[in-house]
Symmetry: C2
Subunit: 283 residues, 2 copies
C-alpha cells in the first residue's frame, strides 16, 4: 500500500503509470470506510492493474449547518481495512492544498443539482462536481467507481463526465446493506441503538414501494409516494425529508409509472439524515 499526500506526487505517479500502459481504477471516498467502499475497491481491482482510493472529506460539499466537523474520521482504521485487500494506492490530500485561499473555481451541473438532496442541501452537488473534477484531473483514471446508494450523485457524475468530456468510464456498484436492509453509510455511526433499529424503515419503505409498483395495482406516482410516506411516518423516530419517484436518467419526477423508475428517499432519524433508493422496473 502506497500513501500519497501531495497533489503533484499523485499526478506524477499517475503519469508514470499511464506511460507504463497501466489501467487505473479510482474509488473516491471521504474515509470512514465500510463494506460498501470495500466492494467498490474490489470491483476496481477485478479489471484495473492499479486501484487508487482517495480519502478526502470535501469541505465544499457541506452546508454551513451540516456535519462537516462531526464527520467520522479514522485514517488509521481505514488503512487497516485497506491492508486486507490487494495493494492499493491511497491518496489523502489536505484541504489547504485542495482549496488554497485563492481557490475560486466552481463546477455546476445545472438543475440536476437543485432537486431531491440538492433542495435540502443547497450547493452540495456543486461541491461534489467540483471536487470530483479535481480528483479526476489529479488521478486521471480509466475507470471510476461510485456506489448506487448516492443515486443522485451517480447521475450528476455521469452528467459531469458527459458534459465536460472526461475520458473516464463510470461504474455504479450495487448498494451494500446491513442484515436488516439499512444501506451502509459512514453516517450510520451517528445513530444510537434505538435510532439504528428505527432506520430499517428506509429499506422497508423502498421494498413496499417496489411491491406496490410491481403488483401493478398502483401506477400513479403520487399514490405510491403517499403510501411509502405513511409507512415511514408510522415509525415515530423518522421524519421525511423527501419521498420521490423519478426517471433514473433525468431525475425528472415520474407521474404515471410506465417505465423503470428510481424510488429515492431521504429520512431524518433522530438528528441523522439518511438516504436510500431502489431502481424498479415497472410491470
Amino acid at each position: 500500500m502506497q500513501i500519497i499526500k501531495n497533489i503533484k506526487d499523485m499526478q506524477a505517479l499517475s503519469r508514470r503509470l499511464r506511460a507504463e500502459n497501466k489501467t487505473i481504477g479510482f474509488v473516491p471516498t471521504m474515509g470512514a470506510l465500510h463494506e460498501g467502499h470495500l466492494s467498490l475497491i474490489r470491483h476496481s481491482q477485478n479489471i484495473n492493474s492499479i486501484t487508487v482510493v482517495s480519502i478526502f472529506i470535501n469541505p465544499i460539499q457541506f452546508g454551513p449547518n451540516e456535519d462537516l466537523k462531526q464527520y467520522p474520521q479514522d485514517l488509521e482504521g481505514d488503512l487497516n481495512r485497506l491492508s486486507s485487500l490487494n495493494p492499493v494506492i491511497v491518496f489523502t490530500p489536505v484541504a489547504s492544498e485542495m482549496y488554497p485561499e485563492s481557490f475560486s473555481t466552481s463546477v455546476t451541473v445545472g438543475s440536476l443539482g437543485g432537486i431531491l438532496c440538492g433542495a435540502s442541501r443547497p450547493g452540495h452537488f456543486n461541491g461534489v462536481a467540483t471536487v470530483v473534477a479535481k480528483l479526476f484531473n489529479i488521478v486521471r483514471p480509466d475507470n471510476a467507481y461510485f456506489g448506487q446508494k448516492d443515486f443522485q450523485q451517480t447521475v450528476i457524475i455521469k452528467k459531469l463526465i458527459k458534459d465536460l468530456n472526461f475520458d473516464i468510464n463510470v461504474i455504479i456498484c450495487p448498494t451494500v446493506r446491513e442484515l436488516d436492509g439499512l444501506a451502509m453509510s459512514s453516517r450510520n455511526t451517528y445513530l444510537n441503538n434505538e435510532e439504528r433499529r428505527a432506520s430499517a424503515v428506509l429499506y422497508r419503505a423502498l421494498k413496499f414501494g417496489e411491491e406496490l409498483i410491481l403488483s401493478g395495482g398502483m401506477v400513479e406516482a403520487p399514490s405510491v409516494k403517499g403510501q411509502i410516506g405513511k409507512l415511514i411516518t408510522a415509525e415515530p423516530l423518522a421524519k421525511i425529508d423527501y419521498v420521490e419517484i423519478v426517471d433514473p436518467h433525468s431525475l425528472a419526477k415520474a407521474d404515471k409509472i410506465a417505465s423503470p423508475v428510481a424510488i429515492c428517499i431521504a429520512v431524518i432519524i433522530g438528528k441523522t439524515r439518511l438516504i436510500d433508493n431502489l431502481l424498479v422496473e415497472s410491470k
Copy 2:
C-alpha cells in the same frame, strides 16, 4: 495534416499518442487563423512531438447581442494556412456534439470573470472556461498555448488549470502585431479602411502609458489611465470600453504603480470592439 471532427475519435487518438509516450501541444482557436495563431503553433511544434490545433467557434462564450453569427469562418483558408506548417492534427468538432441539447454543466472561475472584459461581456469567461475544460479533457495535452493578446483569458485559464488541477503546462506567447502595432485578431476583418487606420490608436495608447510609467514621473494609476483615455478619445472613431491598470496575476486594480502591471484596454472602433494590453515593469 489529419482532420478530426468527432470527439470520441480525438480522445482515442490522444490515448494512442500518450501510450506511445508522445508529448502533445495544444493550440485552441476559433479559426480565421492569422499570424498570431501560427506563432502559437510554431511555439508548440518547437517542443512537442505532436501539435493539435482545434478550430471551434464556441457559441457559449458569445452574449446574445454579440457577433456569433458574423464571426469570420474560413475553414478552407485555415487548412491552407496550416498546410504550410509541419503537419498538425486539426480538431474541428461541431457545436451539436460539443453542446447537445441536454448539456447543462458550467465552469465558473469566480470574480476574475466579472471584471474588465467580463463586465461588458457577462457570461463570456464562463463560456471560455467551460469550453477550455472540455477541450482539455478531449485533447489531454501536455502543453497548451494561448496568446497574450487575450490577457484576461490567459489569467483565467491559468486559474482554471490551478484550481481544477489539470496536469497541463500553459504557455503564454507574445502578441503578434501589424506594422502599425495593431494586435492581430480575427475581428480585425470587421474594420473598414478608415477604421483600420484609426485602430492603431490602441497600441499607441498602450505605449504612451508605458512611457508615462517608465519615465517615473507618474505613479498614480488613475492619472496614467486618465492620460491614456485622453489619447484614445482624441481619435474620433474610437470609443473607450475600459482602460485599466491591473496586477498581472490577480487582475486587481492597481492604485499606486510600484510593481509590474498590465495596462489593459478595450476600445470600440466603429462597431468593432478591440482589446489589447501591455505588461509594464515599473521603474
